[in-house]
């Protein structure tokens, strides 16, 4: 048994607890849930997610990005997640009343890696999946990195709050497909120019696979280092079931299928075989 270096927090690894919904808030097409989940917030790093159970005999768990944590508050440690009601599980979650109890496992997954130097960082997030970029922006700002945050969505209703993003990012820009707010267009058509303007050294992305692939390719062309947060369906979220394979090229040049939940969800953009990821 090796002893831990002093100063390293003793709390780590995920926990499984029954959380309680403390608050719910509708924001456009999404529902924000604040959940009291003892043990999770103090272990959180940006890019982690939680797996939650939904009712009605549904066994697959739902992975949700952790959007925000509060280690201390009137109700103890809490975390915020963003739910888009799209299927029966997410609709069940979005309809949860205040006071509902919810089995929560987390924080799960490999978080975003942070640069050691105060380099220029561009963060690109689409839809609700932009959620983990908010705490990432705050951490990068603490390290003195100039942060440019791009929020993209189909329309205004599917956009996370640009106002809130401005608390942590030096520059925030908005892209919508229908042009209802911000620039009209999509990430693949605009990311190159954004990286150019910000003179990006490091690029982070979160969103649908096509968006991640476009950002990773643009970063590669610039010679910037990219990390992407994969949105892959998962049955367990804890690494047990092999249900979320991601084809990646390992350091030795060999392609392997890793698990998005424990080997990701944050992976290097240049390592992913995007064509095989569907």
């Amino acid at each position: 048994m090796t002893s831990e270096p002093t100063g390293v927090p003793a709390v780590r690894g995920p926990v499984h607890v029954v959380g309680e919904v403390l608050a719910t808030k509708r924001a456009g097409a999404y529902r924000h849930l604040t959940i009291a989940a003892p043990g999770l917030p103090e272990r959180f790093r940006a890019g982690n997610f939680v797996a939650v159970s939904v009712g009605d005999g549904r066994l697959a768990r739902r992975p949700l990005w952790i959007h925000r944590v509060k280690e201390t508050g009137a109700y103890g440690p809490t975390l915020d997640v963003v739910v888009e009601p799209r299927g029966p599980g997410s609709t069940w979650l979005a309809d949860l009343p205040v006071g509902a109890r919810l089995p929560v496992t987390g924080p799960l997954g490999r978080p975003f890696a942070l640069p050691r130097e105060p380099v220029s960082c561009v963060l690109v997030g689409e839809g609700y999946a932009a959620a983990p970029l908010f705490p990432l922006a705050a951490r990068l700002r603490e390290r003195g990195c100039p942060v440019t945050l791009v929020l993209a969505a189909d329309d205004e209703g599917h956009l996370l709050s640009a106002l809130e993003a401005r608390r942590s990012a030096r520059s925030v820009s908005v892209i919508t497909r229908d042009g209802s707010v911000g620039a009209r267009g999509d990430v693949p058509s605009q990311v190159e120019a954004v990286l150019e303007r910000a003179d990006a050294d490091v690029v982070y992305a979160a969103g649908p696979t096509a968006t991640l692939a476009a950002v990773a390719a643009a970063a590669e062309r610039r010679g910037a280092w990219s990390q992407v947060a994969l949105e892959t369906p998962m049955a367990c979220g804890t690494g047990l079931c092999q249900g979320c394979p991601v084809p990646v090229v390992a350091e030795d040049g060999v392609t392997r299928r890793v698990r998005a939940c424990v080997d990701g969800p944050v992976v290097r953009g240049d390592r992913v075989h995007w064509g095989e990821l569907g």
């Binding site: 499984h16 005999g57 697959a60 367990c236 079931c241 979320c244």
Partner: protein, 288 residues
């Protein structure tokens, strides 16, 4: 003790390491995901589909192959104190025998489990064991290569029409015990072959266990199929099983195996004290 009363079912414990935050690994009986001689990349996505009270899965036996397993995963598990039962699956009887032979020499292997219930044997290029006669040939080949003082479990599908016949065949071929059961063959939403697991199959598996333990009292049966708490575990034991395997429930709640172990240990303590408490809060709540 050849295996514990509560085991982690094959394919539901990751590499074993991932359970560490949720269960005490020391002394835990874990059946590994099925290991093949050569690495397997597994099937396409989606691999797992949700169905009422169940999951249908078609993972395709993704595993790193025997070499990598022996070099990295097994030593870690042994160091952690896990009682490792290696699930083996192969394309030929020769492959099964080769796996057993090499695993017999690997330090720390508590036992083997012969995977005879894969829902899509032909499609995955596995040895077809639809007939109990074939299953028995595989078990005999494995048993010959593996030391007699360590258990070889044979895992069968919960197929009522063949359960007794299958259990008798593998028992006669030398299996130390029979696991009933594996996934029920099913279809993924897109029609690909898969296996159905979870509470949806519990009544089917319970019936199979009961039939086999009634017909073959000499055969030790480990029950499995939707074991999600102490109540279902006790139901399998009441049907005559000597142990249970916990699988799909771990995907839903990774603490399940620890909870069941604790509850059954309490039962045992009560039995020893001559004061069986019977219903626990868990039992009563499940019925509401």
């Amino acid at each position: 003790m050849r295996w514990g009363t509560v085991m982690v079912a094959s394919g539901c414990g990751g590499t074993g390491r991932e359970l560490a935050p949720y269960a005490d690994l020391d002394g835990l009986d874990l059946v590994t995901r099925s290991i093949t001689l050569d690495p397997r990349a597994g099937g396409p996505t989606p691999r797992i589909a949700e169905t009422p009270s169940g999951l249908v899965h078609a993972v395709g036996h993704q595993n790193p192959g025997l070499e990598h397993f022996l070099a990295t995963e097994l030593p870690w598990l042994v160091r952690a104190g896990v009682r490792v039962h290696v699930s083996v699956v192969g394309a030929t009887i020769g492959e099964y025998a080769e796996l057993a032979r090499r695993l017999s020499r690997a330090p720390g292997v508590a036992g083997l489990e012969v995977n005879l219930g894969a829902p899509d044997q032909a499609g995955e290029g596995l040895f077809e064991v639809r007939e109990p006669y074939h299953a028995a040939s595989v078990v005999a080949a494995v048993r010959r290569e593996f030391p007699a003082d360590r258990p070889v479990l044979a895992k069968l599908r919960p197929d009522l029409s063949r359960a007794v016949e299958g259990a008798r065949a593998v028992h006669d071929a030398g299996a130390s015990g029979v696991v009933l059961g594996d996934a029920v063959p099913a279809a993924m939403p897109d029609g690909r072959p898969g296996g159905l697991t979870g509470p949806a199959i519990t009544p089917v598996a319970l019936r199979c266990v009961h039939e086999v333990t009634s017909a073959l009292p000499d055969v030790e049966v480990v029950g499995g199929g939707g074991v999600d708490g102490p109540r279902t575990a006790r139901a399998f034991l009441a049907a005559g099983a000597v142990g249970v395997q916990v699988g799909t429930a771990l995907l839903h709640d990774p603490t399940t195996v620890a909870r069941i172990r604790a509850a059954l240990a309490d039962d045992h303590a009560d039995d020893t004290a001559g004061d069986h408490a019977g219903d626990t809060a868990d039992d009563r709540e499940d019925q509401r």
